[in-house]
Amino acid sequence: MSPRTALRSLGRLPLRGILWGFRLVHRSSRWLEQRFTPAGRFAIGFASVAGAMGVDTRLNLAHQLFALLAALLLLAMLWSLGFRGRFRVRRDLPRYGAVGQPLQYRMHIHPESGKTERGLELLEQLECNPPTLDDFLRERDPWRRGRNWFDRMAGYPRWAWMMRRHAGAAAPDQALPDLPPARSTEIRLELTPLRRGYIRFTGVVVARADPLGLFRAWRRVQAADRVLILPQRHRVNATALPGGRRYQPGGVSMASEIGESDEFASLREYRPGDPVRHIHWRSLAKLGRPVVKEYSDEFFVRHALVLDTFARADADADADADFEAAVSVAASYAAAIDTQDSLLDLLLAGADVHHLTAGRGLSQSAQLLELLACATPCEHRRFSRLKNAVTDNLGAISGCICVLLDWDEPRQEMIRKLSLAQVPVLTLVVSGRLRGPLDPEPMGRHPERLHLLAPERLAEGLARL
């Protein structure tokens, strides 16, 4: 380790200490929130105040109030040690959810004790990895404008917001009905996803309150599961997309290289390089020489949806907001484009350039949305990778929708190339930082197809297109 690195590491030690403190506080506060009922938390609060007021036992009788509350809480906590219930659970999760929209699902819970279980509660446990120091320093929560200077300086409210976001949703909890023995009972649960991507369930907790209703005894049940939350989508005018039908050599099968096309046209002589599976064996047997099936070429609409995932070098929390908005725009189009009679190619860059085609019996647009749900910003890479992937397919695409995060030279260069190749392109620049109007030169003869969208007024902006 170089001295500079060592010094930098040393300098970050206090910050790591603070983060460790946050983790402790967060864990303690979650424990209090989940283990104590609202009445229990109320009792703790009042016991603390009574204890503070009753320090001098000769001055007043607040210490009696404190002693009584402490005794109630102590007995309630001791009672929790005796909870021996055993349960099995199974979730019926939908395949997808969407950001901001309540996700309803069913859970089957099966008690393994021999008696009816009453007065229980169920708490979902979601996987939640704490943010790293770099994430914490970089990210700023959207509520920061409303926080006071102390909260902004201390940073804990931001930490708490990041933890909620990492979990993906507020863990639902619910009072359970009476559970008859040796039978499954179905309950309905609902959670509202806070972000796209996978929400992972680690298990459930079956809780039982004490007779006083102050403290919950817990039984954890392992039940790992996950559900993919698709990006938030807005209404878009998909009929305004540019481009008409284009010649697709080899038809759909060649377009995607999967399976056989139904569009068999004729037989011809075998040429070296033809796939062996295309050989028409009957003809071979008859003629004594290889003959292959030839498929008809097709003309159909094929759009490319290009999502810019390349973060700026000076990326900050606003860049994250821009990226999320861009994903949302891409998802809106991916969901809106009719892929029954056309194809939609989604291109976005991650560790590699991802290229997924949907439509006409190939992948469904749902799979595009899945890919978008897991998209992450691409740091430390060059935009040229995406540009090359787009320009490689110039000949086949009818039109292109580019969702960009900036309007700098490399991006303008890509648009210019598309325009020069006579590919109709709709360019949507999503940025809270840029102020219009943008330079329309790369758009060629269609400057009206360049739009700047503000992340905080996305729905409005898309509806006006």
């Binding site: 105040v49 007021m53 002693a67 009584l68 007995l75 509520w143 209703g213 040229s384 090359n388």
Partner: protein
Amino acid sequence: MTPPFLLAAGLIYWGLWSGFLWFALPAALILEMAPRANWRWDVSDKEFDRLTDFSNFMLIVCGLYLLNQDGPHGVFELINWLPFLIFPLMAVQRYSVQGRIDISSLFLSVRRLRKKGLHTPRRIDLTPSYFGLCILAAAVAVKHSPWFYPSLLLLGAWGIYGLRSRRYALPIWAAFVIAAAGVGYLGQQGLRTAHQGVEELVMDWFRDRVHRYQSQTRQSTAIGEIGSFKLSNRIEWRLQPEPGQAPPELIRRATFQSYRFGAWSTPEQDLESPERAGEDEDIWIFSHSGAQAAQFRLSGELFRGRGVIPLPHAVKSVHWLPAEQGQRNPLNTFIVKGAPEFLTLDIHYLRGKDLDLPPQEADLSISEMQQDMMQPLVDELNLKALAPSAAAERLGKHFDQHFGYTLELARSEMNAAPLRDFLYATRAGHCEYYATAGALLLRSAGIPTRYVSGFAVQEYDRLSDSYVVRQRHSHAWVLAWIQGRWRVLDYTPSNWIELDAPDSSVWRGLSDRWTLLAFALQELWMRQDSDDDDNTRYAWYLIPLLALLGWRLYRRPRRQRKAEDEALIAGADALRGANDASPFDDIRKALEKRGLPPHTGETPRRWVRRLALTEGEAIRPELLQRIVELHYRRRFDPRPQPPDQARHLRELVERWKTPD
């Protein structure tokens, strides 16, 4: 939701205990009528804001007023007034359409979020909090009442009745509440005892810090103080006599000659250093008398290694005292400096003997006022006419028959002189009274006396097999010169130890055990320290080192894992680096320029094969195929590309681009 009438009960409860029933009754009526009223106020959030601000304003004004009036105690009075101050907010909530208040009305920070449009409305019901506030205010208002706890329990049980889980039958809930009541009752008793104990501890600490260094020339007494005079249970010394020997009954700290204004003193005199012996000069010789000496071991702490060592009368020698300096005055007060803070001494003394210097003029000194005070009793007992021994005995009998022992000091009249009060009115006091009065009375009878302060050795501790000398075993007695030697006269009623002993308690037992453990560890430490050959003290230093080693070892797997992860990431990066622009891209561009782009989805290998068929030598297919192979290796091989391979690929691409 709070049960019906609970809120009213809470308010009335507060009114009863605080004396504000005149307010509590109508207020309770107003609040409880709300659910039965068929009208409501439409109160906006802004109006709730103003009401909260008004309540806060009143809180601040009343707080300032009460703090000004009552000082810090004003805080309790303010809490007592809280049900008043919060009542308007509570009443408006009860009669509002919403029935609840948004938290933004209660907290300025949340209000700011609301103004910026960043707040999600969340309404809360203040009823349970207001109820709790009434109970708290009642508790703060009452100083002492045997009815408070039972009434609190009943109200509390009513309040939590609605919370009980339907999993349990009512008798179980009731049993819980009763158990909690019992535990709570014991708990509040314990709190009071703990409070007392902490107070004593603090006082002791303070007293110790101020009076730790015993002056050899002056000691104040508690004569004249009024009130309860108690010393702590803190163990000052441990005394272990030789097997088969009894311990000395008294060990003295200092001896004084003059009494004035509640304090005994002695004039500054020349100090001398006892003879030292032993290899380490840790043996202090006080007397070379050849008489058979009894001995005991004395252990204890010496604050900062300096102070007075309590010794028995007729001490012969003190062993194992490695002090820089030790001096004694002619009255045998022995002070050391530069000694270890924890001492274990071996003390040899002559039981029943006297080695003090003969009396001086000061041992007969008595002021005129004191003389006048003592004279009536001296005359009554006819002490002057008796021989010294008889006089001492007569005085002792008088004290036994007519006087008692007490630590609860009082005066018969406010202006009465304490000693006079003790001798002729109250006839009760503690050892300082007896010793002072005894010394002065005998001096009035012409017998030289000295006042001695020290400790009584009475309490045997079975666990440590030693006698414990506590602070409350501090004692005072008289030395009287009778028949050519100093004799110990203890006029304090002999049952003073029992009367002084506090009630035994679990806490005291635990405290003693803890002190014993600390004492044993200190002894062990000292023993190790004194042993040069086998100095295992350094073994203690290993503990933090072992802890550090353990932490480092624990961290190492994590660091190794982290390093492995980083290597993996670096490897993945290397792999991803392979996706960066390849020299093959130049070929792709060149062929596209020539109008020979690959078909969509066509792999480079297929593309080249197709072009080889369709274009033939024009595209130099063999060279192109070699380039494609290298490109594939660069693209897909997870191992980092060797530099010569990368260079070779670039050379081939350049060669292909250059026409023949």
